[in-house]
């Protein structure tokens, strides 16, 4: 009897499509800069940031099941790493050096956040549920308070409570979109692979996962580190969008905003997080005409949403994982995968 296998498009077409899509964002972004309304473009770019933040937090909270409230803290670390460096060296970053250097600084911001994630994660991930939430909340607040106190490090201006201003404006639709794609592809491919299945196993039953030979601590820390990396990336991008950084931007309300995206989209669903990130960036903008009632309406919508669909927009599912089609496996469809 032949094995059952899902039918899917060849991998190389998917890989090429991803590269082409990212490349295509460059001219699209230039066109947007020229012709699109600044305000609309700003919202679009921030949707990209929201996607990065929500999907990366989903890896920690939804997929691995470790409830973290510290995402704004990781974002702050990335934002300040990027902001401080770019401001300090802005006169050296001209012409073609700029995009290359910006990729470097963005990655560096992500790595810094990831390293902090590692240091914070190893002790706190022993905690479960509420306790982990409180510990990560505390971590986020510590970051904010520390940033409030630091005026400068050597000749590098940090800004302290006055904030850091006049950071070069670099982030545009291209950077936002490209990083959002990278974040989604990396996390989706990681968790929906043989290597990534244990992330879900840890969420489902930690004891059973351990009994199946899974080093659960490793996977929890990995989720934390990868999630922190992308939060750091989003931080660098956001610093160079407005050009201003204020430690207060990264308080726990920001963390909760991201948690709301994950929960609303459906914990564990990457496509759910993407939809929720887009929706929850768009919605507050639409509600601006209601002025003072804006936050009330926003909160009401969330309450209604949770009452009607407590599992979130997509629940546990992914948009691309439509019911698998069973096909008889043969030599021809070997080498095909999602």
């Amino acid at each position: 009897m032949p094995a059952l296998r899902r039918k899917s498009v060849p991998v190389w077409t998917v890989n090429s499509a991803i590269v082409i899509l990212i490349a295509a964002l460059w001219p699209i972004s230039s066109a947007f800069d020229k012709y699109m309304d600044n305000y609309v473009l700003d919202v679009l770019i921030r949707m990209g940031f929201a996607i990065i933040l929500a999907v990366s937090l989903n890896l920690i909270n939804g997929i691995t099941g470790q409830f973290s409230l510290g995402h704004a803290g990781f974002m702050a670390i990335g934002a300040y790493t990027g902001g401080v460096l770019l401001k300090h060296y802005q006169n050296d970053l001209v012409g073609m050096i700029l995009p290359v250097a910006f990729v470097g600084v963005t990655v560096l911001g992500g790595i810094t956040a990831a390293m902090v994630g590692l240091v914070v994660g190893i002790p706190t991930l022993r905690l479960r549920g509420d306790y982990l939430a409180i510990a990560t909340l505390g971590f986020g607040e510590i970051i904010r308070v520390v940033l409030n106190q630091i005026e400068s490090i050597g000749s590098f201006e940090v800004g302290g409570s006055a904030g850091l201003h006049d950071i070069p404006h670099i982030a545009n639709f291209f950077w936002s979109g490209a990083w959002a794609i990278v974040c989604v592809v990396v996390i989706a491919r990681l968790v929906y692979s043989a290597k990534g299945k244990p992330f879900f196993a840890v969420r489902e039953d930690e004891i059973a996962a351990g009994a199946m030979g899974i080093d659960t601590t490793n996977y929890k820390v990995a989720a934390f580190v990868i999630g922190a990396f992308f939060a750091g990336v989003a931080g660098v991008l956001s610093a160079t969008l407005s050009g201003n950084l204020d430690p207060g931007d990264f308080n726990f309300v920001k963390s909760i905003e991201i948690v709301v995206m994950v929960v609303l989209g459906g914990s564990g669903s990457i496509t759910g997080s993407i939809l929720a990130a887009i929706l929850l960036t768009y919605l507050p903008e639409q509600l601006r005409s209601f002025q003072d009632w804006r936050l009330v309406i926003y909160a009401l919508l969330l309450i209604v949403m949770m009452l009607v669909r407590p599992e979130g927009l997509l629940g546990n599912r992914e948009l691309w994982r439509v019911r698998r089609t069973r096909v008889a496996s043969d030599a021809a469809n070997r080498g095909l995968a999602v």
């Binding site: 489902e204 996962a209 030979g213």
Partner: protein, 255 residues
């Protein structure tokens, strides 16, 4: 030397002595039972052997090397797999994924291979998927492989848990009350299944069970625990006639 050897194992929980002087040996291809009244310490033995608890005395050896104090995931990687008294499946994942997670350890391709979906990655995933499906077929679960594990009927959940444990390629399989909650037909099927698993995989099976018919008919040897102490060891026949065992289960006859 036996595959699994346990010497003088003991554990205290606070002031309570849950297990004392427990000796045991299990070899490849053997099917051995562990019985005793509720609270006798059976699951405690399993939990110590699989690294959930650290014993306060004694040693557990697998192929001559001590595994005492190892973490559960390390014990599993060394070749001991288990199921749980209160089924612990990955309920929100598909039946197939439950088994695939058991194969996880053998993933050889790197992180980058996973991200670009390299050829090696695809080959490995397909090979694992084929193996997993093969295993599910043997356990009569292949028709439901895409369903969430929690939606399976209870008997099937128990079977899936055994299949998942076998996916980690153990030398020793420990089953904690595999027949609990099953109806008579399911129990009969389970007995056949356990037999065939032992014969096909050539592993040692150690099981805790309350269903005496099942234990007596499939186990070669039986250990009886009561209040943390071993009160009898022997063949099913010997155990059935043992006074101490009868006393532990039914109480002492008054006269």
């Amino acid at each position: 030397m036996a595959m699994l050897e346990i010497k003088n194992l003991g554990i205290d929980f606070g002031g309570l002595r849950a297990l004392t002087g427990f000796d045991f040996a299990l070899d490849q291809g053997e099917l051995v039972g562990l019985i005793g009244p509720n609270g006798a310490g059976k699951t405690t033995v399993f939990n110590i052997v699989t690294g959930v608890y650290s014993p306060s005395a004694g040693d557990v050896q697998l192929r001559g090397a001590s595994i005492t104090g190892k973490k559960p995931y390390q014990v599993n990687r060394l070749g001991i797999a288990r199921t749980f008294q209160n089924v612990r499946l990955f309920g929100g994942l598909s039946v197939l994924d439950n088994v695939l997670i058991g194969f996880n350890r053998s993933v050889a391709h790197g992180f980058l291979g996973t991200l670009v979906r390299s050829r090696k990655h695809q080959m490995e995933e397909h090979a694992q998927e084929d193996q997993a499906i093969e295993l599910l077929r043997e356990f009569d679960l292949v028709d439901r492989m895409d369903d969430l594990a929690r939606t399976l009927p209870y008997g099937s959940q128990r079977r899936l848990e055994i299949a998942r444990a076998l996916a980690t390629a153990p030398r020793i399989l420990m089953l904690d009350e595999p027949a609990a909650g099953m109806n008579p037909q399911e129990k009969t099927d389970l007995m056949e299944l356990i037999h065939s698993v032992r014969d096909r995989f050539q592993i040692g099976i150690w099981l805790i069970e309350h269903d005496m018919t099942l234990v007596m008919s499939i186990c070669q040897r039986i250990t009886v625990l009561d209040h943390g102490e071993t009160i009898a060891v022997g063949s099913p026949r010997e155990i059935q006639d043992n006074d101490k065992v009868i006393e532990a289960y039914l109480g002492k006859a008054e006269v």
